[in-house]
């Protein structure tokens, strides 16, 4: 039994970044939106103050204290109240495993410290790097980059003196993924010639890594993405969108019903029809066409980027490794950084399990290659435990449903932290919920891309941005009829079950299958779940510290990070601290999350960032660049339509 000063553990997932939080705290604990509005002392004891940054949370929302060896919750007259295990409470005693709901935060209380949770590991540990086709072999401490890279600025002559190849251009795109692609595409449309652009990355196709992540998370070419019709990485205008193109294709095949349905979808979505989304294969094919049109292969250079430095003549030098002891430099005046997600987030208890057992087959992450799971299940049946309830969990469930068509002896346990009777609330609106999944067509409310929410976030200060992101964020899935039917069928037929609780530890049983120990909500106590496989579908990690290249850059130039731990960028997506005379550096994608734009990690968000960056370059009169407006824009579109070089 806990004594009156014993620390407790709170556990929650941050609604804006998806990060797991597991602080060890001694009551009294104050929970609220503003640090300064919570008391410093309570009855002579120091208060641990926890900021929950959301508009649905009051400045001082609730207080947790020990009272006669019992933990007591007192709501501080908050506007939106505190829910305990789904019921509203103003003053009550709490138990091990209870779940507090405060705005978008769902916090599990762990009073007994028999929990393992992998909590002793440093949080940043609990990730696995995204597998690239060419792993980094040589240690980064090797002779490259050369010692003069230790200084703040490097000299061009010194680069040439190394005898490694040096290329000098105006524009350099780093990453060569989708973010680089849309930026380079826009540069080409604005008049920049391929000779003045270089792109460095590990794979020749801009969607290579994205495609791999899609395939791993069970989205093959014929399956649909979670993307709007007019989010077209191959077409900055977004017209014609994928729905129109698909309708046209079906029309030429004589499939008139399908034509009508696609057009109806984009007209009536999301209220009267299911939101249209394109098939992944079609998106890749469209990118291939555009890549050829703009001369991407000519601009692409293979290599792993080791370091980025300012030069003493107002540019940037990029040192990269080509493998087998070969190295090269790129020098450019304008740099665009889009290295994507550095890592896959892994639940700490699962990461621990893998480290302890060295078994990488039974506990897997949804973003890793894990087809062996479905093959084994199709062969011999079994039970799968899914953790996480986002879009990827939906896809996995669909894949398991398909596996069940081949072998009906497959059962699915879906483990969630707490029930979700209602969705997030923002102003007058509330997000819809079905079977404990929060529903939303895309990963952010739609107005984040170009509507009212976009301008609201852009105008907000750093703290307020995090608050808005928490209110709009959280794990959601798309309202797709097929998924709803699968969930319902699974529940009715009994092969799909949803359980709630907090995992205390995962251990192998005698047969080498993972046993999950769960603290159920309320007083129900601990239960054990047996499964043949566990699939972690909780997400990706975008923190700068996880990427060695970015971490080095941030440390070397002492760059500021934003409150989400990502690169701090201006509203133009510039890293102003990296300015070097006329030289400019921009960033895009997940590494800029927490800044002026919510949906940075999406096709349309990458295009938005590219537009902002190119606009700011045009204002600074960057060479060859003419902003794309009016007739000029229309003329470029005509070239796109006729598949002519820009």
């Amino acid at each position: 039994m806990a004594t009156s000063s014993a620390p407790i553990r709170l556990s929650w997932q941050d609604p804006s970044t998806g990060e797991q939080r597991l602080p060890h705290l001694s009551p009294p604990i104050a929970l609220g939106r503003e640090f300064t509005h919570m008391p410093v002392d309570w009855q002579g004891q120091r208060v641990s103050r926890i900021v929950l940054n959301s508009g649905q949370v009051s400045r001082f929302h609730a207080l947790l204290t020990w009272e006669n060896d019992q933990l007591r919750l007192q709501d501080q007259n908050s506007s939106n109240g505190t829910q305990v295990n789904g019921g509203r409470q103003t003053d009550c005693l709490l138990n091990h495993g209870d779940v507090l709901e405060i705005g978008p935060y769902r916090i599990t209380l762990l009073l007994r410290d028999d929990t393992d949770l992998g909590a002793n590991r440093v949080r940043g540990d609990s990730v696995i790097l995204i597998a690239d086709p060419i792993p980094e072999v040589a240690p980064v401490t090797s002779a490259f980059p050369p010692p003069f890279f230790q200084s703040r600025q490097v000299n061009i002559q010194a680069l040439y003196a190394t005898q490694y190849p040096v290329e000098e251009v105006d524009y350099g795109a780093l990453g060569a993924g989708l973010g680089s692609f849309v930026w380079v595409d826009l540069l080409r449309l604005c008049g920049v010639s391929p000779q003045q652009v270089r792109v460095i990355g590990l794979e020749a196709q801009p969607y290579a890594r994205y495609q791999r992540l899609c395939l791993n998370s069970q989205i093959p070419a014929h399956e649909r993405l979670r993307s709007n019709s007019d989010s077209c990485p191959d077409n900055i205008w977004g017209w014609p969108g994928y729905a129109l193109r698909e309708a046209w294709h079906d029309f030429t095949q004589g499939q008139l019903r399908s034509v009508g349905y696609r057009l109806w979808q984009v007209f009536a979505e999301p209220t009267f029809a299911e939101t249209y989304t394109p098939k992944s294969g079609r998106v890749f094919a469209s990118i291939d066409r555009e890549a050829t049109r703009i001369g991407w292969p000519q601009m692409y250079r293979f290599g792993r980027i080791r370091a980025i430095r300012q030069t003493d003549d107002g540019r940037y030098a990029i040192a990269y490794a080509l493998g087998r002891g070969q190295y090269a430099f790129l020098v450019a005046r304008y740099i665009h950084l889009a290295t994507g997600y550095p890592a896959i987030q892994f639940l700490p208890d699962l990461q621990d399990y893998r480290e302890r057992t060295q078994d990488f087959q039974v506990v897997v992450n949804a973003y890793e290659a894990h087809d062996h799971v479905y093959q084994a299940l199709e062969r011999q049946g079994g039970t799968v435990l899914i953790r996480g309830r986002g879009i990827v969990a939906s896809r996995i469930l669909q894949r398991l449903y398909e596996a069940r068509q081949r072998n009906p002896n497959i059962a699915v346990l879906h483990l969630m932290r707490s029930p979700k009777p209602k969705g997030n609330q923002f102003q007058y609106a509330r997000r819809a919920v079905s079977n404990h999944f929060e529903l939303q067509p895309f990963n952010w409310p739609k107005a984040c891309w170009g509507g009212t929410l976009r301008s609201q976030l852009e105008q907000a200060g750093p703290e307020e941005r995090m608050r808005l992101l928490a209110d709009w964020g959280g794990t959601t899935t798309a309202d797709r009829g097929d998924w709803q039917r699968i969930v319902q069928a699974g529940l009715d037929e009994g092969w799909y079950q949803v359980g709630f609780g907090t995992v205390t530890r995962v251990e192998p049983d005698a047969q080498g299958c993972p046993l999950t120990f769960i603290q159920e909500m309320g007083l129900k106590g601990e239960i054990k779940l047996e499964a043949n496989f566990i699939i972690d579908a909780t997400g990706l990690d975008g923190k700068v510290k996880t990427n060695p290249l970015l971490d080095e850059l941030v440390t070397h130039y002492n760059l500021p990070l934003n409150l989400a731990g990502r690169l701090a960028v201006t509203n133009d997506f510039e890293l102003v601290e990296m300015r070097n005379h006329k030289g400019r550096m921009y960033a895009a994608g997940a590494i800029t999350f927490g800044g002026p734009y919510a949906a940075v990690d999406s096709f349309l968000g990458l295009q938005y960032a590219a537009l902002c960056a190119v606009n700011s370059l045009a204002q600074g009169r960057a060479p060859q660049l003419r902003s794309l407006h009016g007739w000029h824009s229309l003329a470029q579109w005509c070239k796109w339509a006729r598949n002519q070089t820009p």
């Binding site: 900055i236 007209f267 969705g423 170009g450 509507g451 407006h629 229309l634």
Partner: protein, 143 residues
């Protein structure tokens, strides 16, 4: 495109004064229907009232979690905006500068309104994006 208030206003003004005016010409000049300046006047009343409706629509958007405005809603709004003009000049027979309620011809109005509306809708779905890259990222602001 997910509109903001400023975006709605800018888009409405631009499209009414270009596509709207262009499509009103054949009606005003009498190539289609009886002709007369009333068609132009009605276009301006539609525009003026529309700027007011936009304030209402933006308010309604706040009740949608995605704060969006599906294409289908644009059509419902168009029905409503047309209906108000019919109520004004036909049902309540109110004459306003430029429009004589006595001379208001419902059939020709409906045809004119339909042509203008479809023209504006199609332009907003395609041409606006091609001419103004930022338009869809700034809630319909093209300036």
């Amino acid at each position: 495109m997910t509109p903001t208030l400023l975006g709605r206003w800018q888009t409405r003004i631009l499209l009414f004064l270009t596509v709207g005016l262009l499509l009103t010409l054949p009606f005003g000049l009498g190539w289609i229907g009886p002709g007369g300046t009333a068609f132009f006047a009605i276009l301006f009343y539609l525009l003026g009232l529309g700027l007011g409706w936009d304030v209402l629509y933006i308010y309604l958007q706040k009740f949608r979690w995605d704060q969006d405005w599906p294409a289908a809603y644009q059509w419902l709004a168009a029905l409503w905006e047309g209906l108000v003009i019919v109520l004004l000049f036909e049902a309540m027979a109110i004459s306003l500068p430029g429009v004589d309620a006595e001379a208001f011809q419902l059939g020709w109005f409906l045809l004119h309104y339909m042509v203008v509306w479809v023209g504006i809708f199609l332009a907003s779905q395609s041409l606006m994006r091609l001419l103004f890259l930022h338009w869809r990222f700034r809630g319909g602001q093209w300036l």
